[in-house]
Amino acid sequence: MPSYKLTYFDVRGLAEASRLLFHLAGVPFEDKRITFGDGSWEKLKDSTPFGQIPVLSVDGFEIPQSAAILRYLAKKFGFAGKTPEEQAWADAIVDQFKDFFGAFRQLIVAQRGGKSAEEIEKITSEVVKPAQESYFKILNGILEKNKSGFLVGNGITFADLVIAENIESLEKFGFFNASEQPKLSALREKVYTQPSLKSYLASRPDSQI
């Protein structure tokens, strides 16, 4: 069996879906977590392929970029859809999430950059809320049509993991109200009640993002 090491900050962020995938598949891996702000990232940065984390190391071969890592693992472990067309749809959903997240990130940057309350309100109402509305509309449309309750086909895929984690983060930021979003809440529930995820979810470090 290959030796896997996943390196990322000590938050859920862009790597959590991959961590979940290892647990879902029951595959051991080194869950290397870098503490933000103690200088360890700066020391590590130049040795990574793209100067960024997460990085997945597979018997020493390094793969950067969170979605590339996630797709690689999902294909290996059988969570990338049952057909090429299903996989393309899982890819499309994750890309749509990334497009939304690009908008949402502007808010995080503004908050962390100490922008005025007015500026933050502007970004929230002019950028984030419209982006979220169309993103949720698309996801709900998919869940409306797909009777399995998963986003793609009849089983869990990496797309479900990404969206569940995003819903979790949006709720922590006050952008998701479970009672207003029954289908998305049900999806998160479906993911988080997978038996093989139970003990990891009970013990994992929490983070806002």
Binding site: A68, P84, A92
Partner: protein
């Protein structure tokens, strides 16, 4: 035989990579190009209210890179091992990050913002370029094939070079400080079957 239809605007944008893949593979497809009015008429009917959309025997697939990856995987332009394919995906994601970073410059040059193109070039394009191109150059230097990954040309080469065509159209000196990048661009654009397509395709700024 599978029936393919690719629906997009008249331009190259994020969809020409997929047109290129059909031509490289010698596979026929319906190259549906919509003007702005036609797009607006049909917008609500598309799965993600956007183009490109690939229709495969009636099944619609949205999102430009999902489409490109699907075709590249089918036709053999997505790397030869799972690890290589992951690296190809990583280059494409890094390109999308670059593309997001230069958004204000790109959309200004398309005429969609009130910002100043020269100002955005200095503020946004050049810093992003100076992070992205050296990264590509690092991998090209070690590559056995002269393309981003060892086994040969992939859709990562195609999308990055095609976007560069747009950036060079707007600013001819864009990559002048990066001769190895320009040499790679030549190699991609001279690739058999791709060269013929490039010579015949509609000429568009973007």
């Amino acid at each position: 035989m599978v029936h393919y239809k690719l629906t997009y605007f008249l331009s190259r944008g994020l969809a020409d990579v997929s047109r290129q893949l059909f031509h490289l593979a010698g596979v026929e497809f319906e190259d549906e190009r919509l003007n702005r009015d036609q797009f607006l008429e049909r917008k609500e009917s598309f799965p993600f209210k956007q183009v490109p959309v690939l229709t495969v025997d009636g099944l619609e697939i949205p999102q430009s890179m999902a489409i490109a990856r699907y075709l590249a995987t089918k036709f053999g332009f997505a790397g030869k091992t799972p690890e290589e394919s992951a690296l190809v995906d990583a280059f494409v994601d890094q390109f999308k990050d670059f593309y997001a970073e230069i958004h204000d410059y790109f959309y200004t040059m398309l005429g969609f913002t009130q910002l100043d193109g020269e100002e955005q070039k200095e503020k946004v394009l050049i810093p992003a370029r100076d992070k992205f191109l050296p990264l590509l150059a690092k991998f090209l230097a070690k590559s056995k094939s002269g393309f981003l990954v060892d086994s040969g040309i992939t859709f990562a080469d195609l999308i990055i070079v095609d976007d560069m065509t747009t950036l060079i159209n707007w600013w001819p000196q864009y990559a002048d400080g990066y001769p190895e990048i320009l040499a790679w661009r030549e190699r991609v654009m001279n690739y058999p079957k791709l060269k013929e397509y490039i010579e015949k395709r509609p000429v568009t700024m973007a």
